[in-house]
Subunit: 457 residues, 3 copies
Amino acid sequence: MRVWELARAGDSTRIGREMYEWIEDLYPLCRSMTGEGLRETLRRLARLVPLTIQEVPTGTPVFDWTVPREWNIRDAYVKNSRGQRVIDFRESNLHVVHYSVPIHTRMPLADLRPHLFTLPGHPDWIPYRTSYHEERWGFCLSHRRLLELETGEYEVCIDATLGPGSLSYGELLLEGETSDEVLIACHVCHPSLANDNLAGVALAVQLARELAGVSRRYSYRFLFLPGTIGAIAWLSLNEPSLRRIKHGLVLSCTGDAGSVTYKKTRRGDAAIDRAFTRTLQERGDEHTVLEFSPYGDERQFCSPGLDLPVGCLTRTAHGGYPEYHTSADDLALVHPWALADTFGKCLAALGILEGDRTYLSLNPKCEPHLGKRGLYRRALERGPAPDSQAMLWVLSFTDGHHSLLDIAERSGLPFQSIRAAAEALAAHGLLAEQGVIAPVPAPVNSRGARDGSRLAG
Amino acid sequence: MRVWELARAGDSTRIGREMYEWIEDLYPLCRSMTGEGLRETLRRLARLVPLTIQEVPTGTPVFDWTVPREWNIRDAYVKNSRGQRVIDFRESNLHVVHYSVPIHTRMPLADLRPHLFTLPGHPDWIPYRTSYHEERWGFCLSHRRLLELETGEYEVCIDATLGPGSLSYGELLLEGETSDEVLIACHVCHPSLANDNLAGVALAVQLARELAGVSRRYSYRFLFLPGTIGAIAWLSLNEPSLRRIKHGLVLSCTGDAGSVTYKKTRRGDAAIDRAFTRTLQERGDEHTVLEFSPYGDERQFCSPGLDLPVGCLTRTAHGGYPEYHTSADDLALVHPWALADTFGKCLAALGILEGDRTYLSLNPKCEPHLGKRGLYRRALERGPAPDSQAMLWVLSFTDGHHSLLDIAERSGLPFQSIRAAAEALAAHGLLAEQGVIAPVPAPVNSRGARDGSRLAG
Amino acid sequence: MRVWELARAGDSTRIGREMYEWIEDLYPLCRSMTGEGLRETLRRLARLVPLTIQEVPTGTPVFDWTVPREWNIRDAYVKNSRGQRVIDFRESNLHVVHYSVPIHTRMPLADLRPHLFTLPGHPDWIPYRTSYHEERWGFCLSHRRLLELETGEYEVCIDATLGPGSLSYGELLLEGETSDEVLIACHVCHPSLANDNLAGVALAVQLARELAGVSRRYSYRFLFLPGTIGAIAWLSLNEPSLRRIKHGLVLSCTGDAGSVTYKKTRRGDAAIDRAFTRTLQERGDEHTVLEFSPYGDERQFCSPGLDLPVGCLTRTAHGGYPEYHTSADDLALVHPWALADTFGKCLAALGILEGDRTYLSLNPKCEPHLGKRGLYRRALERGPAPDSQAMLWVLSFTDGHHSLLDIAERSGLPFQSIRAAAEALAAHGLLAEQGVIAPVPAPVNSRGARDGSRLAG
């Protein structure tokens, strides 16, 4: 089975349900840029797909950056004068500003106040905050709870460690017929946030599981990275082999109820840009295609000195929904159907990348006689059948200047119809892949089969 | 007289009426891909224009194809048990599936039924069907008549021959000032169908008659071909001289009441594409310009190994009207005014091809002094006269990178105004055609003529 | 102070009022293509800016043209039989057709009539007419006054001289850091017309005064020219140094209440075209950007043999308002606020030309660590601050293929934000101007300043 057949064959109900279950399992873990929560997440993923967990020691230089100290947290709270936990890390791992330095002291509310972060516009939600690059500490809480805090003395405790250790990430390579790679990356450094982080992680896992079972022209490399520093570290440590990456995709926020958004690579006209644009057009559902903007991990892959063709697939774009980076990005925000829908479109786009190639007509002067090869509609039927249409388009444009995707775009026919037509014509010796020795033509029967169904989609 | 003057001078009432009369004359003949009906059609055309009738013997290999056996039909009918002709070729030559093998037998309706073709959606119309590539036989009839057929035994007769012979086509070359050619092709293989086939034939004949009387930069080659195989045969037999073809056009369905449609060449930016696009824009009538699609004979001319810049001119596009390929494509579907309108637009586009060239300004630093050459509006008139506008545009863009058509497109002025302005400027030694030795400038009178009417359109 | 700071710092009330006062002062003078009125105008301008008045003698050949005789006028009138001046040059200098030959005679109204010009559609306005290229004489008057003229004998007098002299123009060069020039031209040959001529003159003067006080990358050359022949003469006499002109602009009709119109250079994609298009988009006010058309003095600068990138800035486009070239183009048609608005937009566009350059990232593999250089938002703030956004865009596109203006266009961010971000990054050794030796990077403090306000706009 080839990738494009998989795209049609999948059981979307099962596929969506599985992804949702993995998200449920991972949701409670306290992931961060480094540390045990991240490591445990990768271990659980390794039970689903055979990924390798890599560790990069603190202090390792990675391009302009340095791998940071490892942060681990056991507990964190603010207790009031009656000893009650009014802010409690055990309730939600969002309550602590990630990468807070340890602290255990007492202070009046007035002193505590600058360390408390809320969202007054969404008074029931806890924001998600980090302080990676400055030594600070803080708590996040709902604005409603902040308003309930009485003046008085509070016990403040963040029982965390920040010290030498390592940055963890997961990597998996599915080898294909060629060593040319498709890179699929997601970030895995956010605590209990469902859409932003776990939906992308689940989608990457599901893609790896399904692609493992089919013939692949490309090798597929999956990366489960802490955001920013993880991408930079991986790129820095793998620079010599980056030239293998022909197409790349960052997955993020892929499970909400919004429509699919594809953000183009920095180049703007890469094959993956065209594959996703075409897929979303063919599906016809509401969707958005955005030009590149330098946000998200894709900007590291696309940076001028590396210039990898890496796009980004989301549903509602990064930051475009109010629950983004808050406690409301929870299990209710993601949906099995949405996860399955993103998965299907992603696979369809990969099916275009897998199937696209440039053929040359071996019979380029006037149309070849399709009937005598059994490639044409029955003579008494009026109008060309869909496959015949695709064959005529392919024969008219296999001039060495048009790939199958070019022909799909010009014709408006589905890419996979164009590919199937091209393969049928190639099987009859009418086309050869550009740069590949022409196959020996199949023998032509003088009158031809009457039934074009061999080509039927 | 030049082609563009012809475009303005024509008497459209006479031109349309003549074409309609030729269509009336040819309508009853039973044309097919080969045979006497086709041959008689070409003979009658040869009385209107000096075309040569060519015959290509059955069995001649033409690219991937072979010239088929010749088909001739004397009679065909289905008689009921009372001996009445319930389907009668003498009533309409559409009643027989063209290229049916001969048959004379009796059979019950149940056995006859699979050989009968109707249009249930248009119960009074007879469809037009062929079976060129399979040895079959059949009849076409109105659905209403089919429903009247009683069960019982029928006598079935197709008195046809299918054997060695030749494929006929007509060809006419009008030599011009250069051996560069404009190819004008139409198909002439359809029986009693008026718009699809005869309208295009009549238009080609009228173009040949009118162009014969004027000075032509280009040579014009007219082809009256059986569809598909005729085009393939001609191309195959004339391959060495195809390089002379600089522009080409297929004419088809040019007489119905719909608006004009021009379908571009495979290249999409050929000079003829731009000439027709510009013409239709300048005329301002409702019209359609379509991108290339691989249907119609134009796909043979445009095939990747030949890549001739051949577009297609229709009114309602091929297949876009319900009467297409039915008995309703009759003399009532075509109109003298519509034939004349298509003719006029076609001639205007040819006038652009004839008139387009690239000039170089011989006085490129600042504007030349037009007044002292009598080329400018009278000094006390406010605002530039139309011709002055065209001259200013020409002088600003005769930099070697813009042809007159480019300048017409940029300026929005009519192409022929731009051409006339350029010729006036060239006559005063201010422009020279690129690649052509500059003419000796006309003497400049020191004060200039006061009247710009020499340039008036 | 740099040009772009000036664009923000100006006091638009003062700027507009000053321009209006200069227009009031110059309005009564009887300017023409040559002569004392033009010379006096230049003398008054020379009190405002240190321009040089150049004189080109009658008969000097300038490209295809010849500098004309000088025209001076003392008086002109038509008197009725009662000796009353019914048309009086002293009332308005538009009453005489400019460049009329001298005449003093008597004639009946019937003979006089062909020499009288009016605007029947605007019966109260006096048209503005010239007869530069033909030896004629004539008067302009309101249509209402024409209708009042009684039949009878009239005394006709034009006390003018037309003889050897010179063509005058003003020139001013503000030298900048480089000898690359921005050319700013206006025409100064119209009599009492306020918007068409004096508004552009006042704007050029104000630009020269303001630009004189700031650091300039470019040299700025200001030309105050008689229309057409003045531009041709200047170009002809300065041909060897035209290669210094990198950007150019014709100013005309810049003071009316309509919205701003920018007409592109003949090239259509020159830097000045993009600078004005971007400026007008960023400002967001109603505006128009037109493609080049060969009218106005810009067509001399843009002519194919010179091909200078000279655009044209107006408010309501040349000829687009009914008062154009009539006595109604008076002091009521121009407004201090409109003059100031045009001035501000012009300066903003010049600010883009001054600030645009192409940088190369010196740290092109992944994003550099901005935080450790004090270049990033405080870590606990959510979302990138505007300057951070601009920095990310700059870092993603300083690949040698994108100038700062390209990046502004791609990002949709204001050009000056992009420029400020690039300068901040360059100051930290993260960028170097393409083709310029990389500066020694500023020392990086290990933790970085916490406050990004150094970059604030």
